[in-house]
Structures are given as C-alpha cells and as structure tokens.
Amino acid sequence: MTQHSTFSRRRVIGGGLAAMASLPFVGCASMGGPSIGRVVIVGGGFGGATAARYLRMWGGNVDVTLVERNETFVSCPISNLVLGGHKQMSDITVGYAGLEALGVRRIQAEVAAIDPQAREVRLADGRKLPYDRVIVSPGVDFMLDQVAGLAAPAAQERFLHSWKAGPQTVALRRQLEAMPDGGVYALAIPKAPYRCPPGPYERACMVASYFKQFKPRSKVLVLDANPEITSKKALFEKAFADHYKGIVEYRANNELKTVDATTGTAKLEFDDVKADVLNVVPPQRAGDIARTAGLLNMNNRWAGVNWLTMESTAVPGIHVLGDATFSAPAMPKSGHMANQHAKVAAAAIIQLLKKEPVNATPVVMNTCFSFVTARDVIHVASVHQYDVADKTFKTVPGSGGVSQAANQVEGRNALSWAQNIWADMLAT
C-alpha cells in the first residue's frame, strides 16, 4: 500500500513536470486558470509594452510574449532634455522587470518574419513563436533614399537622426559638446507625417538653451521641409523670439535634398548650408517588420487598421499600434497615442479570444508636452471619439487645444506625465 501510493505520487509529479515542460507559457497560465489564448507582441515601446501590461492586467489568463531587440526601454519623450544637458540617459531609461513580474514572457531578439497562415512569429535566430493574435508595434524606420547621399555609411555616421532614443541621443549630445562656440547646428525636419510633430521644434529649443548658456555665439538653424511649424506654431515662434533671439533661425519650405558627408554640406532646393553639426530627421514610414509582414497598405508607407480592434486591414490576426498606423484625421504619431492604441487593442483582443463582442465606442486621447526652456512647457491635447458612420476616430469639436503660454506648472506636469506613462506601460 505504501509502495503503491509513493508510486502514484511519483507518477503524478512526473506527469505534471512533463506537462509543464511542454507548455512554454506555464508561468502565465498558472495565474488565472486555463489560458484563453497566446498573444505575441513585436516591439516593446509605448505601444507594445502598454499592450503587454493591459493584456495581463485585464485578461489575466492571456499568455503574453513580448519580443523586443533592446535590453531596456529608452524614452523618446524627454530625450530632447538630454540633448540640452538638462537630463541624463539614466533619467529616460526603464527596464522590463515590471512586465516580467506580471507574467509577461520577454524575449530579447530580432523578429525576422510573421507567418499569418502558420500563425507564428519567426525570430532571426530561428525560433518560432506560435500565436492566436499578434501585435506589431514597430515604431518608424527611415526612408534614407529620400535624401541623396544619406544612406552612405559615412553619412550615417556623421548625420545623426537621434529620432529613436538611445545610442544616437548620446552621440548627438557628444557632437554638440565637441562643437566650438560660434558653430552652427542645423536640424533638418521632414515633411509631415513623421513621429512626434512638435519634437523637432522642442529639440531646437533644447539645443538653443544649451548654446545660450555655454556657447552663446553658436546658432541653431532649423531647416523645415514643411510650409510652417507643424505643431504649436505660435507658441514655438514666441519661444524662439523670447528666449533664443539671435540663436535660432527658422526657415520654412527648406527641404533637404542631398547631403555630402565629406564636407558636411546640406543641399536644399536653392542653396547649400554648411553646418558643424547636421542633425537629419529623415522621412519616415512604418517600421521594417510591418513592411516585411505585408501590412503597409496605405501609400506603401503606413499600416491601415480597423480602429475598433487595431487589427490590420491587410492581414487578419495582426494588430498594429502607434506610429506605424495610417493615422486617423488629426491623430498625432506620439508615444501617448501609441499607449492609447494599445489599450483599445488589449480590450478588443481579450474579447476576440473569448469570442465576445468588442467595444463599439472606443475613445483615445493625446497630450504632447514640449519643453521650450529647461522648465517652461507648452502642450497640445486632443480627444478622439470613434465615429460609427465613418469607421474612424474623430476629434471632438470644442475639445482639445494648446497652452495659453509656456509655463512652469506644465513643466512639472510634463515630468509627472513621463513618470506616470512609463509606469503605466512598464508596470514599474
């Protein structure tokens, strides 16, 4: 009798271990009963990380795998303050431990392909991740061929974009520090749409704030491909005039056509500009994996989505978030908006996995704060309600708007926003 019960206990334990070994997501499933489905998320930025957090928080027993190439999250919002010398990289860097503690399986790897027939994500190292639903939140990649000479290795080394926070943020800061007083920093802005509409003008302010204090004979030359400042125009014009007169020079309709890495020259339509530091923000499209997966059905540049679910209109079962999407009217490409997209997607995916109806009236909203000095901030805000007839998000008439004037209360609010949104997405 004793022998028998020992034997059966062994069998039970052994069988249990074998079952666990064959279930790659056992850690997640154990938290809320049997799993209702497997979701693989490609990209751990504002969109992907938020989706992971909310799928776990709202879905409970959803198996969530997050694939991200970087070890840590580095925030684009606030990164212009690093360029200005007002913040350090450590201030804008957050790890993924909070998500892992929630049961998110994190894989640091490169995604090579998505196979919608086999329903699996293929990693560059050969691993395959089966999914019931996949979320693609790749941000943007650059259309280097739109500026002649820019794709050359020497040009890539010399003309930084710093439009993805990380090593390029550090490298551009070093270029600015190495630049002699009396030098010229030129910033080339692509035609809209691009990631973070007010970002370039905030960057001009932040670099100018550094020059004003440490290199007062230097210049910030803004070469804008757009006919005017694309976001918070009057407020940025006032900031340039009030704080950076004689430092910032703004030129509209100045599209960068060609760069020469040997001489450091930027060629525009009518003239050439020689800058000591030339910071080129290239034209953008959805991140590479969205193109590889066949999602770019809008101008071969952005991914069309069903706004009720964020599901691709090109490939079923794939949901797309953030900058990579073909934006609804007046919807900015921002980290804040990607976070909001993620919540719509997380809610819808849980319903779809449960075979229950999705929310028919989603709402998203956006707030972008921009620093014009180290302490003074301006905002733009908008609220977007789903329009059933037109099947898109529309801003609510009479809502939203910009700051009356730059102010320090919003300076504190902007840093509080960063603290709260990073915690919201990364479960810190």
Binding site: Y54, Q340, A347, Q351, V383, S399, A423
Partner: protein, 103 residues
C-alpha cells in the same frame, strides 16, 4: 410552458449580466484613457497630479463639470474634459471611485 418561462428568465438574466459586463468594460476602457497622466487605475505617482482612485464619483463628476464650464481654471483639463460626454464622465468617475486608493 414553465420550462420555457424559466429559459426565458434565464436568458434575460444572462443578457442583463452581459450588458453589465459590457458597461463595466466600457467604464474600465474609458478610465484607462486617463492613466497616462493620472496613473494606472487612477493611482498617480508623484504629487503633481491629483490621484483619482478612491475619490467619490460625485466629486469627480463635479470637478470635471467645473473644468468644462470654466468655473475651475486649468492648464489642460478644461480642453480634455470637453472631449467626453456626460455619460462617459459618469462611467469614468464610478470606475475610479471603486478603485482602492493604494496599491
């Protein structure tokens, strides 16, 4: 006949609970649009922004209405408040009121 009645009553209960679940999800989803500034489930970090978790629904609705009318001046909330309907504000307020104030 009786069993059909019972079935009907069962369906009614089922559809009522489904509608309730949908409302609960709607409130949850709407409230999540506030989290970027006011913290996940209204539990804001830092002392700059007002936390919403555990605040009474009446108080939240009154505050939003004051922002909407301009009775309470603001840097940004007057613009955001005007983007939500009165019914949506009520759902958001009831969701935050039901959240525990601390983690």
């Amino acid at each position: 006949m009786q069993s059909i009645h019972r079935l009907g009553a069962g369906l009614l209960v089922l559809s009522a609970s489904l509608a309730q679940a949908q409302d609960a999800n709607l409130a949850r989803n709407l409230a999540a649009t506030c989290a970027n500034c006011h913290g996940t489930n209204g539990r804001a970090l830092g002392d700059t922004v007002k936390p919403l978790a555990g605040v009474s629904a009446d108080k939240i609705v009154a505050a939003i209405n004051d922002y909407k009318s301009g009775a309470q001046p603001a840097t940004i909330m007057h613009q955001i408040a005007k983007g939500y309907s009165d019914d949506q504000i009520k759902l958001i307020a009831s969701y935050f009121a039901a959240q525990p104030a601390k983690k």
